[in-house]
């Protein structure tokens, strides 16, 4: 059987190497252990010995740069013909700058280094690689939720339908809180608040201050936000399902739903779920009404780690930046540091908004709903276009505020609170 001669890693941070010399000619015989070829890296040149005895077949010629682990030649046993069916990764595309164009990472013989992964390479733990291989999954198809997008066992287990090993994810119930206890059952059904992408239930607190009602007010952290694990949730419908299960788990069978942005699309799906008796629906700058979304914001805000970058994106949310007080920015930065990681948000951003597009459209669903529905938009919204207001159908009351951006409930708090109370009252 022919023996594979590969380009070994001779240096810690080596990803590619150049064959600088073959000590034998193609077809010549070599004894195991004799010098076979020389490789050159940025730092060193090194002789590599023959791994077996036999005739040499040269695949990679002198001067060619190839990724570590590539087949550079074969040693053929007596009477054995040349190897013709070369695996696709034996001759990888190498761009002119020497960076490999595509390397099949599952086959890559070496673990990823600490450096940023090159395109095509995948960060994955040994256990996740093992699980993926056992179940015939391609790691490239598995979104990694670990540090730097690393694929971990839990990410694979999500796909193979097994409950995750990570205790943080084992609990399908979302983190939630009563932002106001209310005056009890006599005060009527509770108000249920569902926040937007990159926020958490705490983001409702300023708004709730302005809502004068005896009703209880309840808020959830969406999967991958605040205190809720991402788990297997990747779509708006996954999220709505977990919201419903969490509401039922908390003994809440119905209420008045309020959703902001992404939470608007989620709230619409929750309202359509027969397990929850939704009394009314209020959408604030809702998502899910059309394909357009500010992809730069979504990706930038998801990836932002530093206070300055988070602050810069937060200014995009509003028309008048003065409303983004340093205290508000600090609170957001702190919440982000303590809760959802930027990796988790980036994973979500990729699946919710692939190619910078809102993948889920709930406008048909909205038209079918019979419950009282109202929507509030800011005319100067830089995240979701106000034009989406026209896709709501004639039965939805639409309010558009001038000189307001994506956060009407911050920028026109008292007005939006008044609308909410009127809306709930009219719903009975």
């Amino acid at each position: 059987m022919a023996t594979d001669v590969i380009l070994p890693r001779v240096d810690m941070d080596m990803t590619t190497g150049r064959v600088s010399h073959w000590f034998v000619k193609a077809g010549e015989r070599i004894e195991k252990g004799a010098p076979l070829f020389e490789i050159e890296t940025d730092k060193a040149a090194m002789e590599i010995d023959a791994p077996a005895s036999g005739r040499v077949q040269i695949i990679v010629t002198v001067g060619t740069q190839v990724p570590v682990g590539s087949t550079v030649g074969w040693i053929l046993a007596d009477g054995e013909g040349e190897v013709t069916a070369i695996a696709s990764d034996a001759l990888p595309d190498v761009a002119e700058d020497g960076v490999p164009g595509s390397v099949d990472a599952v086959e890559a013989p070496l673990p990823a280094s600490d450096a940023a992964p090159e395109s095509g390479q995948i960060r994955a733990t040994p256990l996740s690689r093992r699980l993926a291989a056992t179940h015939g999954l391609d790691l490239a198809d598995i979104p990694g939720t670990g540090p730097n997008g690393r694929v971990q066992a839990a990410d694979v287990e999500v796909l193979i339908g097994k409950s995750t090993a990570n205790p943080m994810d084992s609990d399908n119930i979302l983190n939630s809180a009563w932002l106001r206890q209310g005056a009890g059952a006599s005060a009527g059904d509770p108000i249920i608040l569902i926040h937007g992408f990159g926020s958490d239930l705490g983001g409702w607190r300023p708004f709730v201050q302005g809502v004068t009602t005896d009703r209880a007010i309840y808020a959830v952290d969406l999967p991958g936000h605040g205190g809720s694990s991402l788990g297997a949730s990747r779509t708006v419908s996954d999220m709505a399902n977990r919201v419903v299960e969490s509401l039922l788990g908390a003994g809440i069978k119905g209420g008045h739903l309020v959703g902001h942005s992404l939470g608007g699309a989620v709230a619409t799906m929750v309202a359509a779920d027969s397990r929850i008796a939704a009394r009314s629906l209020m959408l604030i700058a809702p998502g899910g009404l059309g394909p357009d979304i500010n992809a730069g914001f979504v990706n930038g805000f998801a990836a932002a780690e530093h206070e300055d970058s988070i602050a810069a994106w937060m200014l995009e949310l509003v028309f008048d930046g003065a409303i983004m007080t340093p205290a508000l920015i600090k609170a957001t930065v702190k919440a982000r540091a303590a809760a959802a990681s930027h990796e988790t948000l980036s994973v979500l951003a990729r699946s919710l908004f692939p190619d910078g597009t809102q993948a889920t459209n709930v406008s048909d669903l909205l038209r079918k709903l019979t419950l009282p529905t109202r929507a509030v938009f800011g005319r100067l919204d830089r995240i979701v276009p106000v034009a989406h207001a026209s896709r709501l159908g004639g039965m939805v009351a639409v309010h558009v505020f001038d000189d307001v951006g994506h956060l009407p409930h911050y920028e026109k708090r008292d007005e939006v609170a008044t609308l909410l109370l009127q809306h709930i009252r009219s719903a009975g």
């Binding site: 040994p126 256990l127 690689r129 093992r130 670990g146 540090p147 971990q152 990570n166 205790p167 990681s341």
Partner: protein, 331 residues
């Protein structure tokens, strides 16, 4: 027969082991600087000189090399010496006798002799004794075939390992962390031994494995209790023996928990953590790792005298808690 168990300090447990061994076998005797009337630098030998006399509790001159040489010679001659260094740092003076003689003679003389020697080395930082009296040099000794090297973390193990060491036909080096001497724990009365080659699981967990030594076992257990409140359930293995290392115990644990952190007081690089990490990377447990291995070890500096810097130079409970979160949650 039911054993009677009481609470003793780590130092009392060692003294009790020495006393039991001397009562059982007249060949057992103690050597060391100031271990007689003064009772030892850390009061471990205490009043043993009054109970067993100066022939069996011998004060030696301030020459570690000389004392160690006498101890090796006595062991070769059929005695069972237990030599105490005042500080493990001073064992550097006796390396010739420990490394070139005690560790080698059985091999070089074709098994015709053995060196049944026990050495006790108070080690570690935390007492404000500065750079020359606070080191954790156990990895040096564990690098020498021919020696056995153990490090108890509890009074129970301190007594049992010492009695096992005295019963062993070959040289055994025992590192006693100075901050442990006053810690207390349950210790059975009478003679018992703890195996010289076995790690012990001090806490069972499922989310990750901490392998720790000596005082770091105590700190790791505190950290694990803290992390349990956050839903992170860590297993804590007390390595106990550095030579040989109980690799199967660690492999079994990591295969179960998928994550590994090593916590030790010696300088982080080229130490115990490197050895354990490499052993796992070479083992079947590699395919079960679901996160990078974490090492928490001493800073790459001589131990500072300033008390705050001294604390900062070795892993503390808060460091282990933070690393535990990183290990399990990735951040």
């Amino acid at each position: 027969m039911d054993q009677i168990v009481r609470e003793l300090s780590f130092a009392q447990a060692i003294q009790e082991a020495l006393s039991i061994a001397m009562e059982r076998d007249p060949r057992v005797f103690l050597m060391g600087e100031d271990i007689g009337v003064y009772g030892g630098a850390f009061q471990v030998t205490g009043d043993l000189v009054h109970r067993f006399g100066e022939d069996r509790v011998m004060d030696t001159p301030i020459s570690e090399l000389g004392g160690a040489g006498v101890a090796v010679g006595a062991a070769l001659g059929g005695m069972l010496p237990v030599y105490e260094f005042q500080f493990s740092d001073f064992a550097t003076l006796a390396m010739e006798q420990i490394v070139n003689q005690a560790a080698k003679l059985r091999y070089m003389l074709g098994g015709s002799v053995s060196v049944p020697l026990v050495m006790r080395l108070p080690c570690g930082s935390g007492t404000g004794a500065a750079a020359q009296h606070s080191q954790s040099l156990e990895a040096w000794f564990a690098h020498v075939p021919g020696l056995k090297v153990v490090q108890p973390s509890s009074p129970h193990d301190a007594k049992g390992l010492l009695l096992a060491a005295i019963a062993d036909p070959d040289p055994v080096i025992i590192f006693e962390h100075k901050l442990l001497y006053k810690t207390r724990g349950a210790v059975p009365e009478g003679h018992y031994t703890v195996p010289l080659d076995k790690a012990e699981t001090k806490r069972v967990g499922k989310d990750g494995t901490i392998v720790a030594t000596a005082i770091m076992v105590v700190k790791a257990l505190e950290a694990a209790a803290e992390l349990a409140k956050e839903g992170i359930d860590l297993e804590v293995i007390d390595l106990r023996s550095l030579r040989p290392i109980d690799v199967p115990a660690i492999v079994a644990s990591v295969t179960k928990t998928h994550r590994l952190m090593c916590v030790y007081e010696g300088v982080k690089s080229l130490g115990i953590g490197a050895e354990i990490s490499a052993a796992i990377a070479e083992s079947d447990a590699f395919d079960f790792l679901d996160a990078p291995i974490i090492r928490l070890g001493g800073a790459e500096v001589p131990i500072p005298y300033n008390p705050e810097l001294e604390k900062a130079a070795v892993p503390q409970v808060a460091d282990i808690v933070a690393a535990g979160r990183r290990l399990v949650r990735g951040r």
